[in-house]
C-alpha cells in the first residue's frame, strides 16, 4: 500500500521510499523517512496533487510521487 492509495485523514507509518535518485533523496530530506507518521489532508480537484501532514508541517506533492512511498501495513 502506497501513500497514493491512503484514504484522507488517516494516519499511517512510512515503510520505505522507493523513488530513485534526487526525487527520493529530496522526499527523505523533507522528512519522509521510514517510521515517520504521515496523513493525507486533502487532494486537488483532479486528484493529481496531494497535501500531506508530515512532522508537523504541510507538504504538497504529486500523486505519482506519493505512489513511490510505501506504507507499513
Amino acid at each position: 500500500m502506497t501513500l497514493a492509495d491512503q484514504p484522507l485523514g488517516c494516519d499511517a507509518l512510512i515503510a520505505h521510499v522507493h523513488a530513485d535518485g534526487p526525487l527520493g533523496d529530496r522526499l527523505m530530506e523533507m522528512g519522509l523517512t521510514p517510521g515517520t507518521k504521515v496523513q493525507i489532508l486533502r487532494q486537488s480537484a483532479g486528484g493529481g496533487l496531494l497535501q500531506i501532514l508530515i512532522r508537523g508541517y504541510r507538504l504538497s506533492l504529486r500523486r505519482s510521487d506519493a505512489a513511490t512511498i510505501e506504507l507499513c501495513p
Binding site: 527523505m28 523533507m30 522528512g31 493529481g48 496533487l49 508537523g56 507538504l59 510521487d65
Partner: protein, 728 residues
C-alpha cells in the same frame, strides 16, 4: 579552512542559514535595518544580501533558504558554496541557523548538516509568538544541551530576542571549536567515515565531517571531475559503505545517511517539544479549505488577480504623471539655461529622455511587486502554485513557474531572475524563455496610443464594455496563450525533460509584515533599475544620435510650400511651430534611423507598416515605450508627444498614402502593430539579463530569433487575414 581566530584580525562575519519560510529574511531585516547591500556573489548570478548588524562591527550574509546543503537548485548551491568557502571568500566565523519553532523536526535536518561543518553555530528559535499561540512549549535548555549549540528564542517580526542573539553570536566566536555532531550512523559506518576524514586530513585536505560526508555521498562523476585528488582517497570508502550489510530495507549510503540524521533528531524533538494545549483545528487548514477548494479557490484567485491588476494600473497613473511632468520640467530647465547646440540636444533628447524612460515605469513596478510580496508573505503564493500546477503541467511546466511569470507583467527582468528557485534546469530555462511574452509595463504606452488613435470612437461592445479595454485585455491574453504554446513546444523538442517532481512546503498562513513586504518590493524593483538603467540610458543616447545625424535642413522650397498651403503669416507663432515640426520630420527622415526605417520597409510592409512606423520600430528596440516619442517626431508633432496626446493621434489618423490616398494608420494596422509588440523581443536589457542568467549567448539568441519570428508571422497573419476579410 577552519580555525579563524580573532587574532587574525579580519572582519567578524556571520552567515544566516535556514529553511525557507522560517522568517530568516525578516530576521535579517530586523538585524540590519534597511541598509543592507544587495549585490552578486562573486562569479555567480545569484543575489547576495549583505549587511551590517546595527550598532556593531558584524557583517551578516543572508543565504538563500534551503532544506539541505545538498544543492538541488541554483539557490541552494549558493548556500552550500558560501558555507564551504568555495566562492573564494573566507567562510563565516559563525553561522546563525534560523529555525521555525513550530516545525522543529524538519528544520533541525539542516541544522544537523550545519553542525557537521565544524564551525560555531548559534540556533535562532524563531516564530516563538506563533508557537506560544498554538500552545507549543520548547525546553530551550534541553535543546541547547542536546544540540551542543546555544539556542536563542526570537520573534523576528517584533525584535524579541535579537539582542541575546547577537550576544550569543559574539560568545560563539570566541569559544573553542565546537565538538563535532555526528548523525546516528552504525558503528561500522562511523568507522569508515572517521577513517576517510583522517585520510583526507593526512593528505592535507582538512575536511570537516560535513564535507567528508558530502564527498562520500555525492554523485560519483561530479566528485571525480571536480575533486580528483579527494576522489582517489574516498573511492575506497564509498565502496565499503555501499557493500556494508544494509539495515533493512536496503538503501544506498546516501539514503541511510539522511535517515541517520533524522534518527538523531527525533529523540531530541520528542524530549524538547511539548504541546501544552490540545491543538484545535488549525486556522491554516480552515483557510485552505476555502482557498484550495476546486471552485472557491480558483474563484478567489481570479478575483485577486483582477483586483491586483486593476489596482496596479489604476493607482500607478497619477504617479506616472508625476514622473512625466518632472521630466518635462527638467527638460524645460535645460532648454532655457543651456546654449543651443549638440550638448543641449544630447542632454534633453538623449539623457533626460533615457532616464525618463526608466523612471516612468517605477510606479507600476513598485505596486506590482508590493502586491506580490504581500501574497508571498502571507503564504498564499504556494497555494497559487498548487492551483495552477495542473494547467502548467499541460505545457510541461510546474506551478513553480507562476511567480516568475507573474512578476514579468511588471518587468520581465526580475521575473527572469526569480526563476532561480525552479529546481529543474530545463523548466527554469523554458520559464525564462517565455517570460518576456507576459506583456510588461513598457508595452502599455504602445497599446494606449493605438487604442486612443483608432478605437476611441468605437461603439461600446455589448453596450457596456469599451472596445479599447477589450482589445487590451485580448493583447494580454494573446501573450499568455503564446507563452503557454511556446512552452509546450520547447518542452517537447529542444528542452525535453520528464515532468519535474513537484514537492512544495505549504507554510502556515500569517499576517504580512509591512516592513518585510516593503523591503522585498524595493529589492526586486531595484533590480529593474540597476539592470535596465545603464542599458536603456546608453541606448537612448545612441538612438538620439541615430535620429539626429546626419543633419539635414528643410529645403527652402519645401518651407515655402508649407507656408503657402497653411496660409499662416510667415512670422506667426503657429507658422514657426509648423516649420519646426516639419523640419524635425525632414531631419528624421534623412537621418540614419530614417534611412534604416526606409530600408526595412519591404520587410514590414506585409504587416501593414510603412517606413514611418519602421523608424518607430527601430526606436523601440532601445526601450519599447520609445515608440511613442519616436512616432511623435516622425509624424511631426514633436518628441514630447505622449501616448494620450491628441495631436499625435490626429497626426497618425491624418497620415495618407501618397499614392492611394487611403489612410495609412487604420484599425487593422493598429491591431497588427499591437500584435507585433506583444510578441517581439525588443528589450535589449532583457537580452542582457538572460545572457547572465543562462551564462551563454545561445539562449538569448534563441529567444530573439523565436520571438521576433513569431511576432512577424503573427502580425503578418493578422494584417493579411484582416485584408482578406475586407478590412483595410
Amino acid at each position: 579552512m577552519i580555525g579563524t581566530s580573532i587574532a587574525e584580525g579580519h572582519d567578524f562575519r556571520v552567515a544566516l542559514a535556514g529553511n525557507p519560510n522560517t522568517g530568516k529574511t525578516a530576521l535579517f531585516n530586523a538585524l540590519t535595518g534597511t541598509y543592507a547591500k544587495v549585490g552578486n556573489y562573486p562569479g555567480v548570478t545569484v543575489e547576495s544580501r549583505r549587511g551590517q548588524i546595527r550598532g556593531s562591527d558584524i557583517t551578516i550574509l543572508d543565504l538563500p533558504g534551503c532544506y539541505s546543503l545538498i544543492a538541488r537548485s541554483p539557490e541552494e548551491e549558493i548556500a552550500h558554496d558560501a558555507l564551504t568557502s568555495r566562492l573564494g571568500e573566507v567562510p563565516p566565523d559563525v553561522i546563525i541557523a534560523v529555525v521555525d519553532a513550530n516545525n522543529l523536526s524538519r528544520n533541525l535536518y539542516l541544522v544537523q548538516q550545519l553542525a557537521e561543518l565544524g564551525r560555531p553555530v548559534v540556533l535562532a528559535l524563531n516564530m516563538m509568538d506563533v508557537a506560544r499561540q498554538r500552545g507549543v512549549e520548547i525546553d530551550v535548555e534541553a535543546l541547547t544541551t542536546a544540540t551542543g549549540m546555544p539556542v536563542v528564542p526570537t520573534v523576528a517580526t517584533s525584535g524579541e530576542g535579537l539582542q541575546q542573539l547577537v550576544e550569543a553570536v559574539r560568545t560563539a566566536r570566541s569559544t573553542a571549536t565546537p565538538s563535532t555532531q555526528w548523525p546516528s550512523l552504525s558503528e561500522d559506518e562511523r568507522q569508515v567515515v572517521e577513517q576517510a576524514i583522517s585520510d583526507l586530513n593526512s593528505a592535507g585536505a582538512e575536511c570537516s565531517l560535513g564535507h567528508t560526508l558530502w564527498l562520500l555521498t555525492s554523485n560519483a562523476t561530479h566528485v571525480q571531475s571536480h575533486w580528483p585528488q579527494a576522489w582517489a582517497i574516498v573511492a575506497g570508502a564509498r565502496d565499503d559503505l555501499e557493500r556494508m550489510p544494509p539495515q533493512e530495507p536496503s538503501a544506498p549510503f546516501s539514503r541511510r545517511l539522511i535517515a541517520a540524521r533524522y534518527q538523531k533528531i527525533d529523540p531530541i524533538v520528542a524530549r524538547v517539544v511539548q504541546q501544552t494545549r490540545p491543538p484545535g483545528p488549525e486556522r491554516t487548514d480552515r483557510i485552505d479549505d476555502v482557498l484550495t477548494h476546486p471552485v472557491w479557490g480558483m474563484s478567489f484567485f481570479m478575483l485577486a488577480m483582477a483586483i491586483l491588476f486593476q489596482a496596479v494600473f489604476a493607482w500607478a497613473d497619477p504617479l506616472i504623471g508625476l514622473v512625466e511632468n518632472a521630466m518635462v520640467w527638467i527638460g524645460g530647465v535645460l532648454q532655457s539655461t543651456l546654449p543651443e547646440g549638440v550638448l543641449r540636444e544630447l542632454l534633453i533628447d538623449g539623457l533626460v529622455a533615457g532616464i525618463g524612460n526608466i523612471l516612468v515605469f517605477l510606479p507600476q513596478i513598485l505596486l506590482l511587486f508590493f502586491a506580490i510580496a504581500i501574497l508571498e508573505d502571507t503564504g498564499y503564493m504556494s497555494r497559487v502554485a498548487l492551483l495552477l500546477d495542473r494547467l502548467m503541467r499541460r505545457v510541461g511546466l510546474s506551478g513553480k513557474s507562476f511567480v516568475p511569470l507573474l512578476s514579468s507583467f511588471a518587468c520581465a527582468i526580475p521575473g527572469i531572475m526569480a526563476a532561480r528557485t525552479i529546481e529543474s534546469q530545463r523548466d527554469r530555462l523554458v520559464t525564462i524563455l517565455i517570460a518576456p511574452l507576459m506583456s510588461c509595463s513598457a508595452r502599455l504606452p504602445v497599446y494606449t496610443l493605438v487604442i486612443g488613435a483608432v478605437f476611441s470612437t468605437s461603439e461600446p461592445v455589448l453596450g457596456v464594455l469599451s472596445a479599447g479595454g477589450l482589445i487590451i485585455t485580448a493583447m494580454y491574453f494573446l501573450g499568455i496563450f503564446m507563452a503557454l504554446a511556446v512552452a509546450w513546444m520547447f518542452k517537447r523538442t529542444l528542452l525535453r525533460a520528464p515532468p519535474a517532481p513537484f514537492i512544495m512546503e505549504l507554510p502556515a498562513y500569517k499576517r504580512p509584515n509591512v516592513r518585510d513586504v516593503c523591503v522585498q518590493m524595493w529589492r526586486r524593483s531595484r533590480v529593474f533599475i540597476t539592470q535596465t538603467g545603464p542599458i536603456i540610458l546608453a541606448l537612448s543616447v545612441i538612438l538620439w544620435a541615430l535620429m539626429a545625424y546626419p543633419r539635414a535642413e528643410l529645403p527652402a522650397a519645401e518651407r515655402a510650400t508649407l507656408l503657402e498651403t497653411s496660409q499662416l503669416a510667415a512670422d506667426s507663432a503657429e507658422a514657426t511651430t509648423l516649420i519646426e515640426n516639419a523640419a524635425a520630420t525632414h531631419r528624421l527622415r534623412e537621418s540614419i534611423a530614417g534611412t534604416l526605417g526606409r530600408m526595412i520597409e519591404p520587410i514590414i510592409e506585409p504587416l501593414g507598416f510603412d517606413w514611418k512606423l519602421g523608424i518607430g520600430l527601430i526606436g523601440s528596440f532601445a526601450a519599447r515605450e520609445v515608440l511613442v516619442s519616436t512616432l511623435g517626431q516622425v509624424y511631426g508633432v514633436g518628441s514630447e508627444a505622449k501616448e494620450e496626446s491628441v495631436v499625435l493621434r490626429q497626426a497618425l489618423l491624418a497620415d495618407v498614402d501618397p499614392e492611394t490616398k487611403e489612410p495609412r494608420f487604420t484599425p487593422l494596422v493598429g491591431v497588427s502593430l499591437m500584435v507585433f509588440f506583444v510578441l517581439a523581443m525588443q528589450c535589449l536589457s532583457t537580452v542582457a539579463v538572460v545572457r547572465r542568467e543562462t551564462a551563454s549567448w545561445r539562449w538569448p539568441l534563441v529567444m530573439i530569433a523565436y520571438m521576433n519570428g513569431l511576432a512577424w508571422v503573427c502580425a503578418f497573419a493578422t494584417y493579411q487575414v484582416g485584408r482578406l476579410l475586407g478590412y483595410s
